[in-house]
């Protein structure tokens, strides 16, 4: 046995077998679908692919998706930061309950997450008549889509920050307090710089999910073509109408968004010295 042989290393056939199994599963479940999306989209040629993307309804879906994500991600960044700050820097009654409440959107089915809002704000819902009187549209309109997206993506930022802030403790903040810094100054120059990579990572995940959300948004949107269809909903409509190439063409936009997100995520991890977060 050579002196460089490591005690935890398996024999060569076992290693090869494990690597092959991992590569096979990665290829089958992760790489193949991605390739299939692009292959299917381009099957009838570039012309059709580009034509599908140029269509007005597709564009309005893209715009709506960007708008929904553009509104819900900043909101959840704010909520997530506040929630993480609250549960990690303070000890109070009901803290454990609040912690599990933050996870609720992960636990319930997105369909239910959508139905709740219909129940509250729909035409026959609790606040429906009042909303109708004042001519405010929430369900089957942009506000409903944003509310549903906010609900579903709420835990991403908070969940990313809580363990990080928990492990850092409040020593640095306390030091800043004794040096005369006020709350905002402490947040800006002590807390934020030490959580910035975790925060960015949470925001990216939140954004990825916000753009891809289907279930909850599907319930509240009402599927009005060119008006309340987000990109995932639009793809489903096209698919159900057997417009496979168009459906896959739109799917490539979502896939590209996902790839960009992954790229930025890797960059963030690289810049932050990746292992410090040590997750995923």
């Amino acid at each position: 046995m050579s002196s460089t042989h490591h005690v935890t290393t398996e024999s060569k056939p076992v290693r090869l077998l494990l690597i092959a199994a991992a590569a096979f599963i990665l290829g089958l479940f992760l790489l193949l679908p991605l390739v299939a999306v692009f292959a299917e989209a381009l099957r009838r040629g570039w012309e059709l692919f580009l034509a599908s993307l140029k269509e007005e309804e597709a564009w309005s879906a893209v715009k709506l998706t960007l708008m929904a994500a553009g509104l819900s991600v900043p909101l959840n960044t704010l909520f997530g930061l506040s929630a993480a700050w609250l549960v990690t820097k303070f000890r109070f009654r009901g803290r454990a309950f609040l912690l599990s409440l933050i996870d609720l959107p992960f636990a319930v089915s997105p369909v239910i997450a959508g139905l709740v809002w219909v129940l509250l704000f729909g035409a026959h819902g609790w606040f429906g008549p009042w909303l109708a009187e004042h001519d405010i549209r929430i369900i089957f309109a942009l506000p409903g889509i944003v509310i549903a997206t906010v609900f579903v993506t709420f835990p991403f930022v908070a969940r990313e920050l809580i363990p990080l802030m928990e492990s850092q403790g409040s020593d640095q903040e306390e030091a800043a307090v004794t040096l005369g810094a006020g709350g905002w100054r402490i947040f800006r120059s002590v807390t934020l710089p030490s959580i910035k990579w975790g925060l960015m990572y949470g925001v990216l995940l939140c954004n990825a999910r916000a753009m891809g959300e289907f279930g909850a948004v599907s319930v509240v949107s009402g599927h009005i073509r060119g008006e309340t269809n987000t990109l995932p909903l639009h793809i489903e409509v096209l698919y159900n109408e057997y417009q496979f190439s168009a459906a896959f063409a739109c799917a490539t936009i979502l896939a590209l968004l996902a790839l960009v997100t992954l790229g930025i995520k890797s960059l963030v991890e690289h810049l932050s010295g990746h292992s410090s977060n040590g997750r995923h």
């Binding site: 020593d171 640095q172 306390e174 030091a175 800043a176 307090v177 004794t178 040096l179 005369g180 810094a181 006020g182 100054r185 120059s189 002590v190 710089p193 030490s194």
Partner: protein
């Protein structure tokens, strides 16, 4: 500036951290809060700093006679050095030290260049010239400790508070830094209160030692008073280096190893001495330590000079007679 603490109570839920604690820290003194973990010493320090507030009641903290109980930490003018230093990780050493000056209200905030001068002045004071641009993770434990000290001093505090200042350092650095801190304190003359669980550190460094136990103050005095006249068995035992000799079921005698007189068994006088057998002998260094077994089976440590050991020509297994002196509490 003197610190006066009056009838402080502090509870965390149902846990009593401090019970009716009063203490005077004289102006310019170096005072140690000494006690085992859970005795309330850190809580007391944090209450003085304003990082924690005492329970409602008559409890008060006064700086130079002025009640500061309601004054927030940032306005009390305390320099606080945390146990693990709590340096701002993403800032340079210079930015860390200058932080307290940049938080001042715009009207009396020094100009950038002045802050820079002050930072360099402080770095010189703590003997870290030239490390201004380093980051905390590039420094050794002792260096970080001194950066934390410089950062606390930058705001020209009225009192300096240190939580386990040497707790996270290894033995040699600890000793050097301890000596340095004593000299440093004598030079700047700032009223200083520090927390420690190391009796040697407290006795060696402080002018005044406050022994704490179970949320209360057990004894206050100069290191010599505390060592020579411990007021309770707890203080005796906590200061360490002491033999506890059971006289009967409920009374003990405390005697320090060097206070025991050793003679030959042949000279034994049953009225004043106890017979014992040497179990172990440790004689590296100027002082020899014997572990002996009394006739009733109790073990004691006895210290004597190397010369005395050589004169008596003692060895493991020898019978000796010990004079334990009069019974102390």
């Amino acid at each position: 500036m003197s610190i006066t603490i009056r009838s402080i109570h502090k509870t965390f839920g149902s846990y009593k951290a401090l019970e009716d604690v009063s203490l005077d820290v004289p102006d310019g003194s170096l005072t140690a809060l000494l006690g085992p973990s859970g005795s309330g010493k850190t809580t007391l320090l944090r209450i003085v700093a304003g990082l924690e507030f005492a329970d409602d009641g008559p409890g008060k903290v006064l700086f130079h006679g002025e009640d500061v109980s309601g004054v927030p930490a940032g306005k009390r003018g305390v320099g606080f050095v945390f146990q693990h230093y709590a340096l701002f990780k993403h800032m340079t050493v210079g930015e860390n030290i200058g932080f307290g000056l940049t938080t001042l209200p715009r009207s009396n905030r020094p100009k950038k260049a002045e802050i820079g001068d002050r930072v360099r002045e402080l770095l010189k004071l703590v003997k870290l010239e030239g490390l201004e641009k380093r980051r905390p993770h590039e420094l050794s434990g002792g260096q970080r400790q001194r950066v934390a000290l410089a950062r606390a001093l930058a705001i020209k505090p009225k009192v300096l508070l240190l939580d386990e200042p040497f707790g996270a350092l290894d033995a040699q650095v600890r000793k050097d830094l301890r000596r340095w801190l004593r000299i440093f304190h004598d030079e700047i003359g700032l009223t200083t209160l520090f927390v420690t669980h190391d009796q040697e550190e407290a006795l060696e460094l402080a002018d005044q030692v406050v022994v704490m136990r179970n949320a209360r103050i057990e004894q206050v005095g100069s290191p010599q008073e505390i060592y020579d006249q411990p007021r309770s068995p707890f203080v005796y035992e906590f200061l360490g280096n002491v033999n506890k000799v059971a006289l009967n079921e409920d009374s003990n005698q405390y005697i320090r190893p060097h206070e025991i007189e050793v003679c030959f068994a042949a000279e034994h006088d049953p009225a004043s001495g106890r017979l014992a057998k040497i179990q172990h002998l440790f004689s590296a260094g100027p002082v020899a330590t014997l572990t002996v077994r009394l006739d009733d089976g109790q073990f004691l440590d006895v210290e004597l000079s190397r010369k005395q050991l050589d004169d008596l020509a003692l060895d493991v297994g020898d019978e000796i007679s010990l004079k334990l002196g009069s019974a102390a509490p």
